[in-house]
């Protein structure tokens, strides 16, 4: 295709969209209570203005431009404008503390930083004194910025105005820079959250982004009329591929919420047709629905229960286009009018054609709940280094325990030790300034190790992921230890927010539990249980009883799997604080950092194994503003009921 050959950069796609879809909405943002929208034409003009302004400020080809802030059209425009100037956009996590930000800014050597608001500017200024690299700060929201030293600082609107005013001077230069972009120039650099060690800058080329966007847009038949809600961190590769890559390729509209706190309302107002969310968002919504149904009147509750029963039975089959009897179809149709339709509308899912979840395992009940309502929720498996997509589920072949078949253009192979490898057009170019890591991750033939252990199901050809390859270990007696497998089962209970299982190299498994304050708090309210803090609720004897029941259920289910039956939890404790990214216990994408937790709570782990009834401990916590404090607590240890599997010793050798 001749036309495709020329579309070798995001700016080139933008020019095409402005030509093809001129008057269609390309970006929306809710501000001042109203959805403001920009068509492709208008957006392209804004982006051009910003790019000219960047040239006026002296942005050079190859420079890195850091972008920090919540999802807003202005920041997406800045990224594309930077690309037009031949520079590389580097979006950062907006909730990162100054310290983390300093590392990334130093590593990429950003001369320009684009900030969403004053809060982000303050953080950059805090690290600027140390780094001396940041030359220009540009901010979007003018609020509170009047008193700052503006010798090296500008409002984005002013930069754009200056660019437009000086367009005769910079036009030719900008054209030359855009023309110099090729399929192999860097499109974006994204820092991996770093479950282990410092974050690494993943360099993705135009080829990576555009080919992936083309393949996957085709896979799900995305089209120009689609709407997405851009609410996940801009620094995350998924947001870049959905809100920039696929949006640019297909020409659909990107909607930005008013603020993080209004996301659910905005979701309902926009009613996206294409939606991505990590499992915890779906879990949270389901918890909300269930809590509200508990408080609903008798009639409503009975109606809900009855209709949901029908939906659970036939909903997924109808969605997958499988044969369903006429009577059931009629019952489902009535249910849709009475319950599913209004419920979907409340959740903001009325128009969804394609929904994805990934990042963590999703509970089968949660997954089935949404599918039974007729929401086409699917799973995908991916990582930053692959430009997201490794495998995904085709329509009609959706299950909660697999992650689907290889995405178009992706080759997947399973190594001897069970680790998953892939090779694809989306495979990253390199880790920035880190050839050793690049070499150890990507081999000469382009195969990349995912670090995950998994296998292909023979019957369906779908991939199943068990755990991180490095976390899969052996217990003292040689049985297989797969902590995540057990943790996921625990986390499927609404009362449990996080779980960390220990047992590598030991004779039995134990676990830390974090309760979900929304679910448990609501339960406490309904049962008249008074508590004044998270810590107090977490230590409540009746909460312990409930959690012990959950653990016992998980043990029973784990015991069914002969290979993993050793992973049953013998003892557990409920942590006195929530695991938090600010304390380094989790990554910004909320994955637990095992080593950190193991060192930090060594005393509690010791207590779990030495049989102590409780352990007095003191834990350092970091507040949102960076100050530190300490929490003291007496954490109770509790034994859990385990199941003796029917056939054990002879299987050990095999495992």
């Amino acid at each position: 295709m001749a036309a495709t050959d020329e579309l070798t950069s995001i700016p080139a796609l933008l020019a095409r969209n402005a030509r093809l879809y001129a008057g269609r909405p390309a970006w929306r943002e809710k501000e001042f209570g109203i959805w403001q929208s920009w068509t492709w034409d208008e957006g392209a003009a804004e982006i051009r203005g910003i790019a000219l302004g960047f040239l006026a400020l002296g942005l050079n080809p190859g420079d890195h431009v850091a972008i920090i802030g919540r999802n807003r059209p202005a920041l997406y425009w800045s990224m594309i404008a930077a690309q037009m100037c031949g520079a590389v956009p580097v979006p950062l996590y907006q909730d990162a503390v100054a310290e983390e930000m300093a590392y990334v800014l130093e590593n990429c050597g950003a001369r320009f930083v684009i900030c969403g608001d004053q809060e982000q500017v303050d953080k950059v200024i805090e690290v600027q004194d140390r780094l001396h690299l940041v030359e220009q700060i540009v901010y979007v929201d003018k609020r509170g910025m009047r008193k700052y030293d503006h010798s090296r600082m500008n409002a984005l609107a002013d930069v754009e105005a200056e660019g437009k005013a000086g367009h005769f001077r910079f036009e030719a230069e900008l054209e030359a820079r855009i023309a110099a972009l090729t399929y192999d120039s860097t499109c974006v650099m994204l820092y991996t959250s770093g479950t282990t060690g410092k974050p690494k800058g993943v360099v993705l080329s135009n080829r990576n982004i555009i080919e992936t966007a083309r393949n996957t847009s085709g896979f799900d038949k995305l089209r120009p009329g689609d709407d997405v809600l851009a609410y996940l961190p801009m620094a995350w590769v998924g947001d870049f591929i959905f809100s920039v890559g696929q949006a640019m390729w297909t020409g659909f509209c990107v909607n930005c919420p008013e603020s993080a706190a209004t996301m659910m309302t905005d979701l309902r107002e926009v009613g996206p047709t294409y939606f991505f969310a990590p499992p915890r968002v779906f879990e949270g919504q389901l918890t909300q629905v269930m809590i509200r149904m508990e408080d609903a009147g008798r009639l409503k509750k009975a109606m809900f229960d009855r209709c949901m029963k029908i939906a659970r039975r036939v909903g997924p089959a109808i969605l997958d286009g499988k044969p369903v009897g006429l009577g059931d179809r009629l019952a489902y149709w009535i249910g849709d009018k009475l319950v599913y339709g209004p419920l979907k509308n409340t959740l903001g899912f009325s128009r969804i054609r394609v929904g994805y979840t990934a990042g963590e395992a999703i509970g089968p009940e949660i997954f089935d709940f949404y599918r039974s309502l007729g929401i086409n929720l699917k799973q995908l498996y991916g990582q930053t280094e692959a430009t997201v997509f490794i495998t995904q589920q085709p329509d009609g072949e959706v299950r909660s325990d697999t992650v689907g078949v290889p995405s178009p253009g992706v080759e997947v192979r399973i190594a001897e030790n069970g680790e998953v490898f892939y090779r694809s057009p989306g495979t990253f170019v390199e880790y920035y300034k880190n050839p050793e890591s690049t070499a150890s991750t990507k081999d000469a033939e382009g195969w990349v190790a995912t670090g995950d252990a998994g296998f292909f199901e023979e019957k369906s050809g779908h991939l199943r992921i068990i755990d991180r390859a490095k976390d899969v270990g052996k217990m003292a007696d040689g049985r297989l230890f797969a902590p995540k497998y057990v943790e996921n089962k625990l986390k499927f209970f609404p009362n449990i927010l996080e779980a960390v299982v220990f047992g590598n190299g030991r004779d039995r498994c134990t676990a830390f539990i974090n309760i979900d304050l929304t679910a448990v708090g609501n339960w406490a309210e309904r049962n008249n249980i008074a508590y004044s803090s998270y810590q107090e609720l977490a230590g409540h004897p009746r909460v312990y009883e409930t959690i012990a029941r959950h653990v016992a259920e998980v043990n029973a289910s784990v015991a069914e799997d002969a290979v993993l039956s050793g992973c049953q939890i013998h003892r557990f404790c409920i942590l006195h604080k929530e695991l938090d990214a600010d304390d380094g216990e989790m990554t910004r994408t909320r994955k637990v950092r095992r080593n950190v937790i193991e060192t930090k709570y060594a005393d509690l782990i010791a207590g779990l194994y030495d049989g102590a009834a409780s352990v007095a401990t003191e834990t350092e916590v970091t507040y949102e503003d960076g100050r530190k404090g300490a929490i003291r607590a007496n954490v109770r240890m509790m034994d859990a009921a385990t199941v003796t599997p029917n056939r054990t010793p002879d299987r050990r050798a095999a495992a």
């Binding site: 209570g33 603020s259 706190a261 209004t262």
Partner: protein
């Protein structure tokens, strides 16, 4: 300090006199709530009135807002001596306030509550507004836009459509501030804006007060109990005790004033 104003420690220019209280005395029957107090409030200034319980602070604020009419003394606002007037006339003059005990419409949404702050600025009549047609409609849209800017400014977008009765105390205070701001006041009176708040809420409120002063150039007079807050926030402080003024000046000066120390900490009886 000249008649034209002064420059604060952080470099803000303070203008001329906006309001002047001359020898105010206020009595309730035989009880003297305020005795012969004089001070001024300047344009662009954050002016605090502090004092122990029962010192007459709230009475003073009520005199400023025109709710109480003093038996003796004069109130001058924007160069004119003020005659006794009704509360809505005061509001039209450009004075808005918040209350020590929140006074919002509990059953109405946050948005509607803030819209009421613009009542004095609306021009179309009752009939036109009930029909919501023509000018009344255009007018409401314009007012709504202003209100949305304030909602954005005070970061209360998530609760825009929530009935006020369901909100926690700290947020109600913020909504009340929003309503006062909606009237686009020249002079904003805050009656104990931080009372009953936790540290975080206080910090937020401080930031909003400073931002209001900075962004809109609104002159602010506030009563506050929390000494730390007052000293950080205000440009000049009036200290009252038993209805009398015992100190007046920049926070540092007031803090070292022996009378003020005596009123707040007490003295040893010989």
């Amino acid at each position: 300090m000249s008649a034209e104003g002064y420059t604060t420690a952080d470099g803000r220019k303070i203008g001329g006199v906006l309001m002047e209280m001359k020898n105010i005395t206020l009595r309730f029957g035989g009880v003297k709530a305020i005795t012969d107090i004089s001070f001024d409030i300047r344009e662009g200034e954050i002016r605090a009135i502090i004092g122990p319980n029962g010192a007459g602070k709230s009475s003073m604020l009520n005199v400023i807002s025109g709710f109480y009419v003093p038996q003796e003394g004069e109130v001058w606002f924007r160069g004119q001596k003020r005659a006794p007037m009704r509360p809505y006339e005061v509001a039209r003059q450009g004075i808005a306030r918040t209350f020590q005990n929140i006074a919002l419409f509990e059953g109405m949404t946050v948005l509607d509550n803030i819209m009421t702050g613009r009542l004095t600025l609306m021009e179309s009549g009752l009939a036109a507004q009930s029909l919501w047609w023509g000018k009344a409609q255009r007018e409401e849209v314009a007012h709504r836009e202003k209100v949305e800017k304030i909602i954005d400014f005070l970061e209360i977008q998530p609760i825009r459509k929530t009935p006020v009765g369901r909100l926690p105390y700290g947020l109600k205070k913020r909504v009340e501030l929003a309503r006062a701001l909606a009237a686009e006041p020249k002079l904003l009176l805050l009656d104990e804006p931080m009372a009953g708040m936790n540290v975080e809420e206080k910090e937020d409120m401080c930031r909003f007060i400073l931002d209001v002063n900075d962004e809109f150039g609104t002159t602010i007079a506030l009563i506050e109990h929390d000494m730390g807050v007052v000293m950080d926030l205000s440009d000049r402080v009036v200290v009252m005790d038993y209805g009398k003024k015992i100190g007046d000046g920049p926070p540092d000066e007031v803090r070292s004033n022996p009378d003020v120390i005596r009123a707040y900490l007490g003295v040893e009886h010989a």
